[in-house]
Symmetry: C2
Subunit: 203 residues, 2 copies
């Protein structure tokens, strides 16, 4: 019976490297587990800036940044997920997140989000560019000239801001984050644990 | 044939919360896998300070710190490992690391290190105190009046400094870290992957 399934909120920023790992596998894992998934786009930038950081914390630690790319490379290789080290991190994800936030209920949303992550982390394309996102919309079977103006309209814009505020209020400080009831799980390596928690603690 | 086994270096700081998780399971996991383990104590403090930080990065992010305790709590509960949120993080780990570094070849070293982690993260004791470390040495079957003066002598002190410099040169930026050949793995959640790597890439 749909609706009685346990629920998991997947909070992601299209610029977040480790969210790529989760985006590529979360839908099939949640389906297998019988957990309903909500795709929740938000922006890490305002959360980092609220902590006094200009930018991704990775860019403050060269050793950690080097490690992160190697870690991603190894994990993608082990999972058979394509990976190409992007020439820039983080990329401007505002437009991508706006579309993902506005269209969060659309059946094609997961396809779009995966196309965005692939563009960023497997094809080294600049997801800050509308033309790249238009390709991602087309890849999800959508007409970008229809979706894009609507998702970026003045009426739609406060949605992403509200989502980011909500994320901050939920205690989210990084991505990917998974929220199950009041329990927060951070990092692709906690995805299985979050799904288990959803199953073990369902109402 | 001993000596032909693949090798894994376990880099830990006694003050590091997530290293507690690894310290409690790494010896049995490595034994099962047939991987030779080297316990490498070092200090995170100088590495953090080289990045311009006063202290643990967790203390710069209240949301992340809150999450970290909850995450540890959940993982310890799932693994049946005792956990009590320490009243202070990080604790002064210089003395504990000095002993662990000086006695790294001793057969009782893993028992001592586990006792230190238990004191810090299961009993909320101050591992900066010599009396607490004396208890940890006794728990490992050693006479602290013999070990302590030797491990903290002027002759022994440069050892820990050299280990910390070596860690930094290896690209280590946090703990626990696992080094297998030139491959760095960071975080308790990468321990299985590091062991697999050691087995798959042995000479």
């Amino acid at each position: 019976m749909p609706g009685s399934e346990p629920l998991l909120d997947f909070w992601f920023d299209p610029a977040s490297s480790y969210s790529y790992l989760s985006a590529m596998r979360i839908e099939s894992l949640a389906r297998e587990a019988g957990v309903t998934l909500r795709w929740r786009a938000f922006l890490l930038g305002p959360i980092f800036r609220a902590q006094g950081w200009e930018n991704s914390p990775f860019n403050q630690q060269p050793a950690k940044l080097r490690y992160m790319w190697r870690d991603l490379e190894r994990i993608c290789a082990a999972r058979g997920v394509p990976f190409q080290r992007p020439s820039r991190l983080p990329r401007d994800s505002v437009l991508a997140a706006r579309i993902a936030c506005h269209c969060r209920e659309a059946h094609w949303l997961p396809d779009f989000v995966r196309a965005v992550y692939r563009a960023n982390f497997a094809e080294d394309r600049d997801i800050g560019q509308a033309a790249v996102l238009a390709d991602c919309l087309e890849a999800a079977g959508q007409v970008s000239d229809v979706i894009m103006p609507e998702a970026t309209s003045a009426a739609a814009r406060p949605g992403l801001r509200a989502a980011t505020t909500e994320a901050m209020e939920l205690g989210i400080f990084g991505a990917p984050s998974f929220l199950v009831g009041g329990e927060l799980f951070w990092g692709d390596d906690r995805l299985e644990q979050a799904l288990d928690w959803a199953l073990a603690n369902q109402a």
